[in-house]
Symmetry: D2
Subunit: 370 residues, 4 copies
Amino acid sequence: MNENQSDEQYGRARVQTTPELEAYYKELESLGAGALWTVANDIEPWEPKPSSIPMLWKYDDLRSLVLKSSELVTPEQAGRRVVYLVNDKRKDVSAAVGWLYTGIQVTRPGEFTSAHRHKASALRFIMEGSGGYTVVDGNKIMLEVNDFVITPNSTWHEHGVEESGKTCIWQDGLDIPLINALEANDYAVFDGTQPLVKPINYSPLSYGGAGVVPADVVWDKPYSPLFKYSWSKVYPALLEAAKVNEGSPYDGIIMQYSNPLSGGHVMQTMGASIQLLRPSEHTKAHKHTGSFVYQCAKGKGYSIIDGKRFDWKERDIFCVPSWMNHEHVNLSDTEDAVLFSFNDLPVMEKLGLYQEQAYIENNGYQEKRE
Amino acid sequence: MNENQSDEQYGRARVQTTPELEAYYKELESLGAGALWTVANDIEPWEPKPSSIPMLWKYDDLRSLVLKSSELVTPEQAGRRVVYLVNDKRKDVSAAVGWLYTGIQVTRPGEFTSAHRHKASALRFIMEGSGGYTVVDGNKIMLEVNDFVITPNSTWHEHGVEESGKTCIWQDGLDIPLINALEANDYAVFDGTQPLVKPINYSPLSYGGAGVVPADVVWDKPYSPLFKYSWSKVYPALLEAAKVNEGSPYDGIIMQYSNPLSGGHVMQTMGASIQLLRPSEHTKAHKHTGSFVYQCAKGKGYSIIDGKRFDWKERDIFCVPSWMNHEHVNLSDTEDAVLFSFNDLPVMEKLGLYQEQAYIENNGYQEKRE
Amino acid sequence: MNENQSDEQYGRARVQTTPELEAYYKELESLGAGALWTVANDIEPWEPKPSSIPMLWKYDDLRSLVLKSSELVTPEQAGRRVVYLVNDKRKDVSAAVGWLYTGIQVTRPGEFTSAHRHKASALRFIMEGSGGYTVVDGNKIMLEVNDFVITPNSTWHEHGVEESGKTCIWQDGLDIPLINALEANDYAVFDGTQPLVKPINYSPLSYGGAGVVPADVVWDKPYSPLFKYSWSKVYPALLEAAKVNEGSPYDGIIMQYSNPLSGGHVMQTMGASIQLLRPSEHTKAHKHTGSFVYQCAKGKGYSIIDGKRFDWKERDIFCVPSWMNHEHVNLSDTEDAVLFSFNDLPVMEKLGLYQEQAYIENNGYQEKRE
Amino acid sequence: MNENQSDEQYGRARVQTTPELEAYYKELESLGAGALWTVANDIEPWEPKPSSIPMLWKYDDLRSLVLKSSELVTPEQAGRRVVYLVNDKRKDVSAAVGWLYTGIQVTRPGEFTSAHRHKASALRFIMEGSGGYTVVDGNKIMLEVNDFVITPNSTWHEHGVEESGKTCIWQDGLDIPLINALEANDYAVFDGTQPLVKPINYSPLSYGGAGVVPADVVWDKPYSPLFKYSWSKVYPALLEAAKVNEGSPYDGIIMQYSNPLSGGHVMQTMGASIQLLRPSEHTKAHKHTGSFVYQCAKGKGYSIIDGKRFDWKERDIFCVPSWMNHEHVNLSDTEDAVLFSFNDLPVMEKLGLYQEQAYIENNGYQEKRE
């Protein structure tokens, strides 16, 4: 392989334009055609080219605005009462990063949305409140802070908070921009509320065991039968793993939320992870394909993304675009810090597009640019 | 499910703007955020929404221009001497339809390109000439008219025509726009020409048997080990199938080019098919997700796409965007017609996005709109 | 299909012997051949034919004999100090049922075996004691009562009890008879003791989480990376499932020990399950292919197997041969009963041999024959 | 690992018997138990231990006897008129080698069997005649010499020869002994003759293409949709492969009959291969797990199996037991020789039991023992 990434070499387009060529290009254009060499170097970049920039959204800034939405509009009017976070470079597709959408949803006690479904997949990470619930294809699931819950593509779903609960705020993650771009999204409204088909919490109580799965139930869906991943089980698992693992140099102790019936990602197009940074841990930098949205679930620290520092604490949300170097730091020297994240890794992996590169300069730590 | 697809119903965003809301939206915008209900109905369409329009490129129009390119630029200057076909609605991404690129490449006897590779996958369908060849990861493969050949993602590849051959023209198909959009493309130039690692035509001679595969060779790549699908074997297979099959109501006798080691698509992101329309056959209309580029390999006929008629004969190229009704007609009452096509079905299928709908009005035939 | 299972019909061998045929048979025999019709009805039975009989081994009978072995022989002499349980009809292959071996092993504090490996797979269910451990491919794992632990085929393994522990008794399960019958078994002795390659309990602490798996570790083995399934996690999972599941009519609340990276069986040739019979539960009878060895982990009850009643309580072991009707009863009306079992279901399933049939007479309950 | 395979070492059972132990053993026996160390070394062999011996059945010897059977019994009486070949060491299970059955069946013009099915799988290799056919689940398939045809487990099947044909002789291969041993076999008789559900030869005409499969047909069975592998396509594929492949040192040019929808074995429990030995080719010896039955389809030569020479020519049948060294020789220096074989490799592979070892002494060639 040639390490030279200059366009001034054999194998790249280097045609000088001439009046004759200009005329030729016009003729082609009139026929719905063009000369490849006029665009080749642009559409064949040497390395993956992200269109997003790294961004961080502070919960301190957003929380009051999110709550205010519950005074300004009703769920009936709004469909869902959500403040969405948008990347400065992806406003055209309403994405937080790459092709991923994220938003913050608020639901007051006694409120609930109508049920709907779409080809886009959705997930939630609970930030505040109590008595929240999701109904997925007739399965009602109670939610607590830091729980992770999925509503896979084409499942009917609705959300609400019990009268006896407290105002709930959660982060939504969807691949709406991706499914729209792939010209495959759809939407349907459920007529009325879903009838429950199973006892409350059937899914997590049946599939939430460790190393055991129901032996007499057939599951033939292409996503996890475990719809809720409880913080009360996930955080202890992180702590157990931390006892015996060195961890990843780039991510500390990192675990993937997984489909217990396949060991793979929870849904067909989006995956999610939870990672623990030990006190004072400062990971090395690497970059890889795939877009990531993070929420700090515990502790405080910062990440350096493409050379720029982003400080975060509990509930802050930030993103890492594809192929941008990033490293994470836990600022506490006594407490662990925990980052939740979701991503489009299933897409990268299934299509053969995942690649990763360690940052080797400066012993693996980016020089801050500012 | 509610068949009503009006936005004026519960479950869709129906917020009337007010000065207070306008102020709220501004505040959100200053924080890199927005109110979901201002975009929800746009980003959650009721049905898949293609961004492309159907188009047909007549070979009679293009052939002379393609040949002319060989007088205007050299392969050394151009990288590859290709006229690409671009959808009127996808000029920004240089796509023929959806996220698929296609072009027509000309190579004169004795010419060859330098070797390169990219994360995008490529395929070719041979239109004219003799003595053409492709080298894929050190495997040299000779090409004949109507042969289908693949150069999977990240394989080194180069093309040429033997001195003793005749000017070759072939159609290129790539998923460059998709891989760019997924922010995962890369490119590398091979230093010099690839050394051959196997005898000429090793791949088709080893894996081109019917129902038998080498028992002593391990193949661990995520794409087909059969790099060339010879017309001399494919067309007879179509004829054999036609003897005993009714065929698809929408596609006639249709076969998928397949990886003999998996039965699946030839590559991770693009698939291809060959279909035979029997004399006078007029298929019914349907629509499905996924974008398609067709080339007529034999015969003449027309397709009605989204209500518009497109007449084609040998070597004409046309496209069918996602979720557009289409039906095909063989205009001859004595000869069969054969359509080659390539598509992004592997993406649709792996991501759980494939869906299909028969056109039921008018006994399955579209009323022409013009 | 013809429900008639008489051999006196067309399609079954019904040849009357004659002197001429006798001579013909002799001639064939001299050439290493025979006439199929002389054996066809025997080798083509109408239904699966088990060779084993149902048996139960009472722990009260065996425990003292098992302990006595530790006075009679040393681990050095015996290799492993095990009393094995053998089916009256399978003594020729040392199997407890079908092609499955089981035994009861005793290890005193401070004792340990040497390491070895074999193509047969092994598993253990802990019956008594404390301070026991297994080392699997350099992973040391501590064992407690009712824990289930695997030592997959061709992994190096050894067992022992810490000096500070109490005499341990556990049940071994192996597929030695099967692997011998398939002419594929082997054996190797490790030179000295295995060096530990990971911290103690690395496997259960890393892979014992519910719904999360290490994101940064590659596992490419064809068996579970979770070597120990702790009773302290499995029993609560059973109780949780019991809250929201009706359970199987034949097995009560039944869960399969599973490979968290595939959702499938723990090993390639043997599976294992844990099932809870609710107070007074009396399941219906069914039969299926596959051989099963049970151990009562908790409570007391009985099973009716092929019409015969077998009473069991904690630590008793019994077997159910292939294609024999069986039903289970919890004799307590206040406490649950728990049965551990292991089986050759992976073999049945992978080879397409699993089938199941409900007992329909008498509302699903077998008439006791005695 | 310890290369020492002596039982006189730590890790093997080395208990000297005593009167006290004898009494102990008796007590165990009375409880359906035994001491493992009395059988351990026997049931845990150092290497795979075949129970069969290599054998060869000469067609010259058998042909007249096979034909004679058609004078002695009718298909109505015999079920199927078959001479089966039995290993001297496997008479108890009617196996030719390991757990595989083989026989030679004769059918005269106008004769046909009744339809039946069983959990055992079956295959056929055509030796003589014309006008033969098989009906598999309503698919009638015409057979020619050297064609390979499958009747997978639980498919209804029947065979016959058209009135206009010539007496057909074919080799049957079944895994009856294995499925019986696994206690999973069954049998059913079809009431009358199967109605045809597809045009004649639907399967080979639809799935017999090279690198293309029907795009509009769903196949969800665990075996190949291609029921017949025609010599007219297979032999040319062998010749094509021979042009560009070195071949296996142990098998020459060897191809596996494969399921075109998976690339894997044709059925769940049995596989089959076809191999070409080039003029004068003498392969090296190796051994592996799995049992094999061969038929010479073309040419003449010999095989050395476990040190013993077996000469074969067209239509001779021989077997290679598990873990026995074998090498093949083509005795012609001008013509190629072709060996068909079937095996239980799917079982070995799925259960993780396949292993292979090259013969290294004497440059890879066995010294003949006689």
